[in-house]
């Protein structure tokens, strides 16, 4: 009986250990992302079936090439990416992810490869005509998408200071809808989706001054310094020779 238990335990531990080291598999580079964030990562063709393309996917492919590995993309929820990297299910996370203090507590970040811009959408003839109005007059209500960086920054800068009230919607589109009917006074959101929202809704505009400029970077587990250094080196080379800019220009045409 005891023997049987021992054998079972050994089997179990082998299974556990082999699945733990699975991510560090010989010649694969596993990238965790959430393929619902165009133009950084999205499905080409049918959702969930087609190929994942976008800025992040192409840069990752070049990095994998430099490291002599094959890239494998894992599509999971955005909230789970850091957990996947921490537990070794993925080697790195790349999902238009902004470097923040809190995320730095959990993972390491590479050099930044792109910038994301948070902008403020307002009504054309509304009470807010500049960022100064928003900060100086105070008392406005701001629509955001829950837990996006727009939510985080406006909570820190405005709500915590008692300058504004934050309305947290589940979707960016809902926040913009609330803005068009005057439920909120402005919406803080990523620049790219903001442009398309303003294009389809008359009477809205984006403030000239950006709210925040953030740096997108690749996250890697804290205990995996070797990979971090390798990725950083490859990324810096790619930035230096212009390949990264070329990819960004391909997906975000300059105005």
């Amino acid at each position: 009986m005891k023997k049987l238990v021992n054998i079972l335990l050994i089997c179990l531990s082998i299974i556990t250990f082999s699945s733990c080291s699975g991510a560090k598999n010989d010649n694969k580079l596993i990238m965790a992302t959430n393929a619902a964030f165009p133009p950084y990562e999205f499905y080409e063709g049918e959702e969930g079936v087609g190929k994942i393309v976008g800025i992040d996917a192409e840069i990752a492919a070049l990095i994998a090439q430099k490291l002599g590995l094959t890239l494998e993309i894992m599509d999971i929820e955005f909230d789970s990416i850091i957990a996947a990297v921490q537990t070794g299910k993925a080697d790195m996370g790349m999902a238009g992810m902004t470097v923040t203090e809190e995320r730095l507590n959990s993972v390491s970040f590479s050099t930044s490869y792109a910038t994301g811009v948070q902008v403020v959408i307002v009504q054309e003839n509304g009470p807010i005509q500049s960022l100064d109005d928003l900060f100086d007059k105070g008392g406005f209500s701001i629509g955001v998408q829950t837990s996006t960086t727009g939510d985080l920054y406006s909570t820190w800068d405005l709500e915590d200071e008692g300058l504004a009230k934050i309305e947290r919607y589940n979707k960016g589109a809902d926040a913009v809808l609330a803005l068009t009917t005057g439920k909120v006074d402005c919406v803080v959101i990523d620049n790219e989706p903001a442009k398309s929202f303003v294009a389809v809704n008359t009477g809205l505009k984006i403030l000239d001054t950006e709210y925040v400029v953030e740096n997108y970077a690749i996250c890697i587990a804290k205990n995996n310094n070797a990979l971090l250094q390798k990725v950083d080196k490859a990324l810096n080379e790619l930035i230096a020779d212009g390949s990264v800019q070329k990819i960004i220009d391909k997906y975000i045409p300059a105005q």
Binding site: R168, N170, T181, G182, K183
Partner: protein
């Protein structure tokens, strides 16, 4: 030991750092209770009214003289029936968003809109529960009351409804438990209730376990308190059953 330390770290990160528990979950709990209580009151009042119209119509329309009163009763009955059909036929999340984005597009008060939406939704269910309760009282009770010289309204108020109330109490309790838990969807219209509060902490800390379990425990506690209160009321009302 390091296991405990890590657990405490997560706990600290989720609830204590930046006053997160107080900011998101306690204020959310307040909103949840507020919406549930107000909606329950609206639900009871409107629901009982609709039930009375429905029962009065079903029991008396055949013996009523044709005239103004019977036309009014028929119209009210038709309206109540239609409300119940429409409200029971649409998911409460969809109703909530219709109230917020379509019916009151200019309203900034998400809590008031949720109270209205959940109150009216609950009224439809309460109406059917109360109607079942009134129907379950033996028709001999009404006949007895009327032959003793009470009129229809007096018989309803003093004889039928007190008995019906006792019958429907467990089902009404059930309805309020469902209502309490259903309010978890108010996050769709940017109202920060308990669920949304937990969800916001998940988004801030990337820890799903603690905030969600905490929210679950608080809901469980609320439901247990609610059913305990109803149990007490039930026992109190049953005191006169055996003598």
């Amino acid at each position: 030991m390091s296991g405990f330390a890590a657990l405490y770290d997560t706990f600290y990160n989720c609830f204590i750092q930046g006053d997160r528990f107080k900011l998101f979950m306690l204020s959310g709990l307040k909103v949840t209770i507020q919406v549930t209580l107000c909606a329950a009151i609206i639900g009871i009042c409107l629901g009982a009214l609709m039930a009375l119209v429905r029962v009065t119509h079903d029991k008396t329309i055949s013996i009523m003289r044709p005239g103004f009163a019977s036309v009014i009763l028929k119209a009210f009955n038709w309206f109540a029936k239609m409300c119940i059909t429409v409200i029971r036929g649409i998911p409460v999340v969809v109703q909530l968003m219709i109230w917020f984005f379509v019916i009151f597009p200019f309203s900034r008060n998400g809590i008031a809109v949720s109270v209205l939406a959940f109150g009216i939704n609950s009224a439809a269910y309460v109406a059917e529960i109360v109607r079942a309760g009134i129907m379950s009282v033996d028709s001999g009770q009404m006949e007895a009351g009327r032959s003793l010289g009470l009129n229809y309204i007096q018989t309803m108020a003093y004889i039928i409804l007190p008995q019906a109330f006792k019958n429907v109490l467990p089902t009404i309790c059930n309805e309020f438990i469902v209502l309490l838990k259903e309010t978890a969807v108010v996050g769709y219209i940017a109202v920060s209730d308990l669920t949304k509060g937990a969800y916001i902490i998940v988004g801030r800390t990337f820890e799903a376990f603690m905030p969600l379990i905490a929210a679950a425990l608080i809901y469980l506690l609320l439901v247990m308190i609610l059913s305990w209160l109803f149990g007490k009321l039930e026992r109190r009302l049953r005191a006169s059953d055996t003598r």
